[in-house]
Symmetry: C2
Subunit: 433 residues, 2 copies
Amino acid sequence: MAEIIEPRLLKGFRDYGPQEQAARQAMFAKIQGVFERFGFLPMSTPALEYKEILMGKYGEDEKLIYSFKDNGGRDVAMRYDLTVPLARYVAQNRGQLTLPFKRYQIAPVWRADNPQKGRLREFYQCDIDAVGGPSPVSDAEVIVCMCKAVEAVGITNYQLRLNDRSIFDLLSSLFLAAGASVDEGKEVMRALDKVGKIGKMGAVKILEEKNVSEGAIKQAQMLMDLGEGEQALANIEQNLSKDSWAVANLRTLLALVKAQGVAEKNIVFDPLIMRGLDYYTGVVFEIILPDKPEFGSIMGGGRYDNLVDQFSDQSLPAVGGSIGIDRLYDAMVDQGLVEAEGLVKALVVNLDEQLMEDYVKLVTGLRAAGINSEMYYQPVKLDKQFKYAESKGIEYAVIMGPDEKAKGAAQLKNLKTREQAEVPLSELAGKLK
Amino acid sequence: MAEIIEPRLLKGFRDYGPQEQAARQAMFAKIQGVFERFGFLPMSTPALEYKEILMGKYGEDEKLIYSFKDNGGRDVAMRYDLTVPLARYVAQNRGQLTLPFKRYQIAPVWRADNPQKGRLREFYQCDIDAVGGPSPVSDAEVIVCMCKAVEAVGITNYQLRLNDRSIFDLLSSLFLAAGASVDEGKEVMRALDKVGKIGKMGAVKILEEKNVSEGAIKQAQMLMDLGEGEQALANIEQNLSKDSWAVANLRTLLALVKAQGVAEKNIVFDPLIMRGLDYYTGVVFEIILPDKPEFGSIMGGGRYDNLVDQFSDQSLPAVGGSIGIDRLYDAMVDQGLVEAEGLVKALVVNLDEQLMEDYVKLVTGLRAAGINSEMYYQPVKLDKQFKYAESKGIEYAVIMGPDEKAKGAAQLKNLKTREQAEVPLSELAGKLK
């Protein structure tokens, strides 16, 4: 006899059993529905790509890519996100695509990250991107679509925080004007990007450790005191740059987002968020849950007009966002927002081997009427059959013994309320609908 | 500037663009609906497993597994099918599971197969399994569920071909009784399994090449002449084994399958199919498309009562089946059975920068009413906007210039029929629904 192998999972990977997976699939379906409502169409790319396709795109995080030599000696890699495969696809099929190209993709990605930090090595991303669309109209569409997707899964209290590269450039130029070096300016902006996590004091501490000049630190403190939202915009306009087109652009974008039904209370301009300085070229945005700040951003994105630059000598502008569904799911479980989805409506109870044919007929009829249902396989104790139903969240038991059969009826039992009533077989499907 | 990398796909891997992916997702949704109608619940396991979990399960095909050392030096492998991960899950969570455990999983698997033969290296499987369910009731349920899934995607002409290990054992015993060796018996059965592909003559040729004795070849020819369906059953009963419980069992199973609404014309008993001698322990079945035999079986499965044997010292019976969705999809495309899914209903045409706010309001209203719709980003030529709509299969254009705006109306144009009518804005969503 073969040796018994211990059944175990790799660290950072998860199984999702029926209850969890049903809830996750319901979330996917809602998000997908919103994506399609906004005119994004589905697309699918492979899990494996040539390694060179993924290299040079993720900076230091490149070491987190799962890569290996396949049987043919090719260097291959598992996709790290859905954006680089999109860029590869767009560059490869450019001649056939009608622009703007609006696609969504919901798929797992793999990162050999540190599971000790609670990071998964396999997780799903829900991405939308509008390739070839202009700013700020397509920016606003992507942002609104993401907010609506988050609302669709049942989140009411969220904050869309956004900023723009041009605001960053404006603030940076103030540093240079104040005599700071370009490097110092970058250090400051990087530290400011972390204020949400480590606080203002923490950011100052980092800058002191990096030996940033006192003047630059003062400027940084001033920026941290800009505040957020309308106050920050007004501060920038009044104190820093009177006729800023950067601020005007942002105001246009904010108006477009509000006009499409994102509540004003959910939108916050935050001059300190940057989300990858080397990547985004315009608006950057993220969604956080004020009730669960520890989960960080559950959605992030921005405009990157360099999407296909590494695959083509003709640039294409793009804007996109990505929902981290596993983080969102965990946050929702934590808030008690995930309801168990009872996918199966009825269990035809098996009381009697002799009535097998009748049970088969019954369950076949229910299924033909579109009712998710099943028949217990064997005539075991009722108790065991009810426990089975309960474990699957089945709502109703259909009970038919010889007496009911003679009457052409069955007992319909609500397994939650324990109420029970006799129902003619001809009315059963109707009642269960 | 960075070097430009050629955007290309690995051989054996595919992108699915919006039209194809929309059609595939619609297929997945239909299949998922049927699985749930039969009381199977979703489950998800990771793409990567410890390599040892997958080893020793696939015989010679083991060399097709994508495996590598991860960053931590662990031997890992990409899942080769959905059955072994299920077995691992069941063994690992046995204490928490209520039996029978009925789950479905729709997910990609990876095999480093030969793409020259038209085989994909990444393809989706749609699996159901009933673990801990008895034969033949749960066998029949799995078989019927698979037939209904195939019907649900639009296939009417299919053949469910099935056999049982006990029939195979019965026929084998005849060989032994006729003086053939055990090895010869196996060679014969393996050759018979190929008759569907290579014909009777081909099978005989193989046996001759393998130096199987003339007596055994004669028996093989007799078996090939058993025919199929009722004729084969009658032949076995009358000529080979008068009181065969194997035949009686099969008759019970066939009756259960028919009673659940699979048309008799679609069911064929085939004493020659085996689908993996070393794996299945009871019924084996497959679905082929008589109109497209070159696509082979689009679904296959059977009973394997050794499911968890390599992970546990307590056996568990199981029966399951798997739809190869990519093969099925290709066969359906070939038959013209795949319709383009028009996911987006309406395009709000952009005629005038000055009306931007109105367009935004319009599209926001349509979306709030649940209508998949979008607004063209810029006021470019009408022609270009119509072409865009056509490329996405959008049905209607909503056209509003200053005149229509003044009237509180818009032109609603059917892009297929080219019919156009003025509709008050208040009635627009209703008309589009």
